[in-house]
Amino acid sequence: MGAIDRLLVSVVDDDGSVRESLPDLLKQFGFAARAFSSALEFLASDCVDQTRCLLLDVAMPGMTGPELQQELIRRRQAIPIIFITADRDTIIRQRLIEQGAVECLFKPFSDTALLEAVNSVLHPKS
């Protein structure tokens, strides 16, 4: 499979280790992956339209994950979003899912949990 045919999963997280490790795992899953350190960097990139799934950190300086979610809704960019957060707050998780997120994974999450969540977006039938 050429990279051009792979589905693009974008990662937005201010933590360097996440930006560093997640794309490699996503590539192992067979996806194309790009990482961004902030919501604004993502919005300014040319990946917004191609992104099929967004792995989005909740707490970030400047624009937060939920704020980016609202901004994408406002722009009518219906990108499926999987939140990833270090804050094990089930109430927040519940709220985020209610507001349209596909999933909210608590860090650290297993590779299978991640793959399951991404596949639920990109391969709904499988």
Binding site: D15, D24, T64, P108, F109, S110, D111
Partner: protein, 739 residues
């Protein structure tokens, strides 16, 4: 007429042949020549002009006279010659003539003149009549350079009080006109006038001199009088001292406010004559008054002495009194009166305070000593003997002192080279030390010494020593309590940071898990992606170590370990605290702006305590902005060098600020402006910073918000202190007492 003047300064050369007097005289011609008729009108006008000139401006009288002669005789030059001794002022005993004024062609020669005994003027005075000369330079060669030459010269003498003082003269430089008898007459007339004018002038000059002298004398007297008067008036009106005027019978005829205030009478009392100095004086002081009166009668003054006056209400006022009779009065005089109440009060207060001092020393457990360095002469107060538990009066030596000082502090005192320092310089110094008593109990002492020089220039220390044992014990108890409080505060602060800590731990953990998963998957592929797996495994190890560090820091923060002292890079501490609190700050939508100085000097202190203070300041700043919506919630944390070899850290928020009135209370324990705060954060922070020999303070921003700063000494100074006096002073610099 400089040439002429020069010529007769030169001794006359008798060898030069000169014409005889007869050959240059032609006076008889005047009678033979046809004479013009007298012009009395012109003559009168001329005299009037002269008189008015004399009245208006006596100094120009000579010039006016010369002009008048020229005008009335229609000659070419006219002037006058006056006897003088100095060449400038008229003098009847003069040995030469000078020319004070010349009109006409000879005018440039004003100031010149001729000798008394060898010249035309002298001839006129010798012959006591008018003479007419023709070409007198033939006999008097010194007149040759005086140009133009005199064809004819008519000279008329004038006298003052029968004494010849000079001549007036007219000169024709050509033969266009000859002098005649009318010229002789009118010159004689003018000669008489010249006599009067001269007299008038002399008198006027003399009078002017007299007037000037008199005016000067009068001015001096006036100045003296007004100066004295003004001084006396100022003295009376200033009411600095009481001034009273009196007569010997006992009446007070005048007094200033100061005196009236002293005795509490008013102006009406004074005017009524009821106030008499004899009545103001208590019976036991009358003898003094009588002696003063006796002195006044014999010498006119009395020496000042202390006495008392009755006030109007019958109370007494101590005064110092001195005075004198008015000159030439014999009965009336003036006296100054000084109120001595204050001095008396001070004197008695001094006596009392001396008595209280010993008692005060005992109560305050403060002893004092003096130490003459040159002779090692040491004097102790009684209380100091008691503190050292030595028998009062035992001779004090440095050896004796050392026998009581705690062995550890003796070495420190020696290190300080206290004695050397004391012997060399004249510094004041302050130190703390311990006494080890024979029963092995310890006393804490605080000493302050002040260096002075006695009248012989010898160095002497005056010192006070306080037994601060009780205070020390209380301080230690307080410090222990504070330390406990600090722990509670720390745990509480950290409790609220759970989210942050979880984040801090889960970020590397998340990386570890993801990398490990990736690694496994890479190894499971066919063929295995060995290089990728190796890379992810390396990251896993790195993130594991990162986590381990975080855990170590957290353990230190949570543990109740004794504070330690080390060199600390404050910037590193700030970064650690930022790492711990960044999530909390982000949650509160705070924009953190670190401004950390490059090359910041190290500080000496306890890393964890400093972390705690910074954490606290960041939290406070964040909390202060929790309600701010109309501006960025910007939180600035800055480190910088501070003056005096110190390092300063500032946390500046854009929050609600604080009430300036409450600025002092901000650091009080349990003072809080926050709904959920216990109010111990700042109090503990200040304790910690003070334990680091630093200062923590708050200021309001120019704009919204406040800034909290602390400033602590840099390491080099702190290390120096560890060996120095301060270490004795505060042995628990870094111990629990400092927290």
């Amino acid at each position: 007429m400089a040439d002429s003047a020069k010529s007769h300064d030169v001794p006359l050369d008798s060898s030069v042949p000169t014409a005889s007097l007869e050959s240059i005289l032609c006076t008889e011609e005047l009678q033979r020549r046809p004479s013009r008729p007298p012009d009395y009108e012109k003559e009168n006008q001329a005299l009037v002009k002269l008189v008015s000139a004399l009245a208006d401006s006596p100094t120009t009288i000579f010039r006016t006279l010369a002009e008048t002669i020229q005008d009335i005789t229609q000659c070419d030059s006219a002037g006058l010659s006056l006897l003088t001794t100095d060449g400038k002022t008229p003098h009847v005993d003069g040995k030469r003539f000078y020319w004070p004024a010349i009109a006409g062609m000879w005018n440039p020669h004003v100031g010149g003149g001729t000798p008394r005994n060898f010249g035309p003027c002298g001839d006129v005075l010798d012959q006591n009549r008018t003479l007419l000369f023709t070409h007198f330079e033939r006999r008097y060669p010194y007149l040759m350079p005086v140009n133009p030459a005199a064809e004819e010269c008519l000279l008329v003498p004038f006298y003052v009080d029968g004494k010849a003082v000079g001549t007036i003269w007219g000169i024709m430089h050509s033969d266009r006109r000859k002098f005649d008898a009318e010229d002789d007459r009118i010159m004689a007339s003018l000669g008489k006038f010249a006599s009067s004018a001269y007299q008038a002038l002399i008198q006027i000059e003399d009078l002017k001199l007299q007037v000037a002298e008199r005016e000067k004398a009068e001015a001096e007297v006036r100045e003296l009088a007004s100066g004295l008067e003004a001084k006396i008036r100022r003295l009376v009106e200033a009411n600095v001292v009481g001034i009273v005027m009196w007569n010997l019978e006992g009446a007070i005829t005048g007094a200033n406010e100061a005196f009236l205030r002293m005795v509490q009478y008013d102006r009406e009392d004074l005017a009524s004559g009821r106030v008499r100095w004899t009545d103001l004086t208590p019976a036991e002081w009358r003898g003094h008054d009588e002696r003063a009166v006796a002195d006044l009668r014999t010498t006119g003054i009395f020496q000042s002495f202390e006495k008392e006056y009755f006030r109007k209400d019958g109370s007494r006022v101590p005064v110092l009194l001195g005075g004198a009779l008015f000159e030439g009065s014999g009965n009336e005089g003036v006296a100054f009166v000084l109120d001595l109440s204050e001095q008396k009060r001070a004197e008695s207060a001094l006596r009392r305070s001396e008595a209280f001092l010993a008692e005060g020393q005992h109560l305050g457990q403060i002893g004092s000593f003096s130490w003459r360095v040159a002779t090692d002469e040491i004097t102790w107060s009684a209380e100091l003997y008691r503190i050292y538990e030595l028998e009062i009066g035992v001779p004090v030596t440095l050896e004796l002192i050392h026998s009581r000082v705690h062995p550890e502090d003796v070495s420190l005192i020696e290190k300080m080279k206290m004695m050397d320092r004391a012997r060399e310089g004249g510094h004041d110094f302050e130190w703390q030390y311990r006494l080890l008593m024979p029963d092995h109990s310890i006393k804490y002492m605080h000493a302050v010494a002040h260096a002075t020089r006695d009248q012989d220039g010898q160095l002497e220390y005056i010192a006070s020593v306080q037994d601060v044992t009780a205070r020390k014990m209380a301080e230690e108890a307080r410090d222990k309590a504070r330390s406990e409080l600090a722990y509670v505060a720390r745990v509480m602060t950290l409790g609220t940071l759970t989210a942050s800590i979880a984040h801090e731990l889960t970020q590397p953990l998340s990386g570890i898990v993801t990398n490990a998963s990736t690694c496994l998957r890479m190894l499971q592929t066919e063929p295995p992606e060995v290089e990728g797996a190796r890379e992810t495994a390396r990251r896993t190890i790195r993130d594991g170590n990162r986590m381990s560090e975080v855990i170590t820091r957290l353990r230190a923060l949570f543990s109740k370990q004794e504070p330690t002292t080390e060199s600390v890079n404050l910037n590193e501490v700030v970064l650690e605290v930022i790492a711990l609190s960044i999530v909390e700050l982000q949650k509160n939508r705070v924009m953190l702006c670190p401004e950390l100085a490059d090359g910041l000097p190290l500080v000496i202190g306890d890393r964890v305590q400093l972390q705690q203070v910074i954490l606290n300041l960041l939290r406070n700043g964040s909390d202060a902005m929790s309600t701010v919506e109309d501006r960025p919630r910007q939180l600035l944390i800055r480190t910088e060098r501070d003056e005096g070899d110190r390092v300063r850290l500032t946390v500046q928020d854009a929050g609600v600020g604080f009430d300036p009135q409450a600025a002092d209370r901000l650091f009080d324990a349990f003072y809080t402006t926050k709904g959920d705060g216990m109010g111990i954060g700042l109090s503990v922070s200040r304790s910690i910073i003070e334990g680091h020999h630093g200062r923590l303070w708050a200021t309001l921003n120019d704009g919204p918000g406040a800034a909290f700063s602390f400033s602590i000494p840099r390491a080099s100074e702190g290390l120096a202190r560890a060996d120095g006096i301060r270490n004795i002073q505060v042995p628990a610099v870094t111990g629990p007492a400092a927290a």
